[in-house]
């Protein structure tokens, strides 16, 4: 069950907790504590193994993450106070956490359950472009994703305009855009014959008012859907975020905890990124009442997580959580390259296989560093999810994944800094019919064959 029954105590701490100047929080409190814990627990990144298999280190990362949260707390930028939690509260929340939930409704309902390392059960596959899209392509893109057979859940593209007006966070245009967003998404699901598909919505809402405006069982985000509560990197929140956590719980939908620890930022390197990612899952559980955690650790310069320093963090964080909790968590891929490039397909495959073997569910795939409008398609998500099903189905070990990931990394890693932008959605999809072009499908099949030859046994 959700741990939001503690919400009022959390809110109280946001007002009465220890005062700290925001300028001091990260440089003088968070980073030094994290650095000390990495040293204490002897956590060490090894670039030779992008997908390590080190149970002892995974357990140490879990312990470091726990201590990080207890010692540092969670900073509320509105009250300038620390929200602290105790060991007892974390233990209670972990005991109360369910290891599975039924999400979506009717015949479209799916079970999302805790995965173990090298779990033979396939990952739960949420598909999302994660980027903004032209208004005229929004519903088409939603439909294109909903045509994907392995899709278990959809997080639709983000609108920048609503009826031609730029959407401004916190303003009326955002509320309008959010309603347009969820209605496009729901209509697409109905037209595709899977009306009760699990949805995570709406990404167009940056402000809490946008989220609250779409809570409606008849036409909006339903109780069988989920919404996300973000975090300000690192370990910071604000009332507008806490408002969401409370609203979602009171409305009755599922809550996901959205975080992206930044490699190269206040977390430092791969070790700190892994520890912080795990700690965020505890924050999601204890403070936001989340039933799942949506993580997208990323590289400060590239904005991606498909290079080895980030893959290591993803692998170790997943293994730490799998061994020490029954939590649910999705691994959100961020690629450097854009659609209809061989590099994007390879990046997606590596992200998916490392994540799947390390116990994650999948959230694929933000392409082109999640930066360029219209530059994402369902086809890369399809490949990622097919890889995920394959890796699980054939019971691929971490060592096997590490070997294949290394071979694929060698094909793209040197191009991370100047990755190709690729094509926009309407250039590699028939936007009217919401299907990929022949050229795009040919490239998909070619790279899929290449990966199959490396030992990945695709289910079909």
């Amino acid at each position: 069950m959700s741990t939001l029954y503690r919400h009022w105590e959390i809110i109280d701490r946001a007002r009465t907790g220890e005062f700290m100047d925001e300028d001091d929080f990260l440089p003088k409190h968070f980073s030094p504590t994290l650095k000390r814990l990495i040293k204490k627990y002897e956590i060490k990144y090894d670039p030779a193994t992008p997908c390590p298999a080190d149970s002892a280190m995974a357990d140490r990362i879990w312990q470091a993450a726990w201590e990080l949260l207890v010692e540092v707390g969670y900073y509320n930028t509105d009250s300038h106070r620390l929200i602290k939690v105790t060991d007892e509260e974390i233990k209670e929340a972990l005991y109360m956490a369910n290891d599975q939930y039924i999400v979506g409704g009717g015949k479209d309902a799916r079970v999302m359950k805790h995965r173990s390392i090298e779990d033979p059960e396939p990952p739960f596959c949420i598909m999302s472009p994660d980027i903004t899209v032209d208004e005229k392509y929004h519903q088409s893109m939603c439909m294109a994703y909903l045509k994907e057979p392995l899709l278990d859940g959809l997080c639709g593209p983000i609108l920048e305009t609503t009826f031609g007006n730029l959407i401004e966070s916190g303003g009326p245009s955002e509320i309008s855009g959010c309603i347009q967003h969820i209605q496009n998404q729901k209509m697409a699901a109905r037209l595709l014959g899977r009306p009760d598909t699990f949805m995570v919505a709406v990404g167009t809402a940056e402000h809490d008012s946008g989220q609250i405006a779409v809570s409606d069982e008849a036409w909006g985000v339903q109780k069988t859907d989920a919404r996300l509560v973000g975090t300000l990197t690192e370990f910071k929140t604000a009332d507008t975020l806490l408002n969401r956590a409370l609203h979602y719980a009171q409305y009755g939908c599922y809550t996901g905890n959205l975080t992206g620890a930044i490699y190269g930022g206040w977390c430092g390197g791969s070790e700190g990124t892994a520890v912080t990612t795990v700690a965020y899952s505890l924050i999601g559980l204890v403070i936001h009442g989340a039933i799942f955690n949506q993580h997208f650790p990323f590289h400060l310069n590239y904005g991606s997580n498909t290079t080895r320093e980030l893959l290591w963090s993803i692998a170790m964080a997943g293994q730490a959580m799998a061994r020490n909790s029954c939590l649910l968590y999705t691994s959100n891929g961020f690629a450097n390259a854009g659609p209809m490039t061989e590099m994007l397909f390879r990046e997606t495959a590596v992200h998916a296989m490392v994540s799947t073997a390390s116990s994650w569910h999948l959230w694929e795939m933000a392409s082109t560093r999640n930066k360029y409008r219209n530059r994402a398609t369902p086809l890369e998500a399809r490949l990622g999810c097919e890889v995920g099903h394959a890796v699980a189905g054939q019971k691929m070990t971490l060592e096997q994944v590490n070997e294949i990931a290394g071979r694929l990394l060698a094909k793209y890693e040197d191009n991370a800094a100047d990755a190709p932008l690729g094509s926009e959605y309407h250039e590699c999809y028939d936007a009217d019919k919401a299907v990929p072009t022949v050229e795009h499908m040919d490239m998909f099949r070619r790279i899929k064959d290449e990966i199959a030859e490396m030992g990945v046994e695709f289910p079909y």
Partner: protein
């Protein structure tokens, strides 16, 4: 003890040691202008290391703090000898509705350590506040960051407010942040799209020189 040692303290982020050695070198007759020029080179080196992520944000921030200690010691002496000329005055902030400030903080550090004077307005800053603060500071630049697509329109609002107040041409308007682009800068009429923190000093200086 030498200039090399002082640079090493700054690179290691040793603020107290930096302050003490700066004071010592001054007593021994070191030229404050030479010291500040050398330390600027050191910080540029640190910036290069950070750009490649050979070091991470906490380390460069500590180096920045150490440099600030040295600058605080040197400033009175620099003023006595004609002063260290600022390369430009910058109003900097994250736009209204946006609470993400890591990029803005890095830009601030890089600009300051390269000789710019920066007034940091923080995050979630009303467009009108950018304009008012620029007037008060006598700024050369108004620089805003946006991390979200739905907060990017606030960058346009800054320009519209400057136009409405009849002061658009007094300032160089700079935009940055993950979802922004040259295309967006052109569309809203900004003077500069700053694509990364490391390039900021050079881009800002070139823009001012063009004038």
């Amino acid at each position: 003890m030498s200039m090399e040692q002082l640079s090493a303290h700054v690179e290691a982020g040793e603020a107290e040691e930096t302050r003490l050695l700066t004071e010592k070198l001054l007593k021994e007759g070191a030229d404050p202008l030479v010291l500040i020029e050398e330390l600027t080179k050191t910080m540029a080196h640190v910036g290069d290391l950070f750009a490649k992520l050979d070091i991470f944000l906490p380390e460069i921030m500590m180096s920045g703090e150490a440099l600030t200690e040295a600058v605080n010691v040197l400033t009175p002496h620099l003023e006595a000898s004609g002063g260290r000329q600022s390369k430009g005055k910058v109003i900097l902030g994250v736009v209204k509705g946006d609470l993400h400030e890591i990029g803005k903080n890095i830009v601030k550090l890089i600009l300051e350590t390269n000789g710019f004077t920066v007034k940091d307005l923080g995050y979630d800053v009303d467009p009108l506040v950018f304009a008012k603060e620029a007037e008060e500071m006598g700024a050369d630049f108004i620089a805003s960051s946006s991390l979200m697509t739905t907060t990017m329109p606030r960058q346009l609002e800054i320009i519209e407010i400057l136009k409405a107040k009849g002061i658009r041409d007094k300032y160089k308007v700079v935009i940055g942040g993950a979802p922004t682009s040259q295309l967006w800068a052109d569309k809203i009429g900004a003077d500069l799209f700053c694509y990364d923190a490391k390039s900021a000093p050079e881009l800002f200086s070139a823009l001012l020189a063009d004038n």
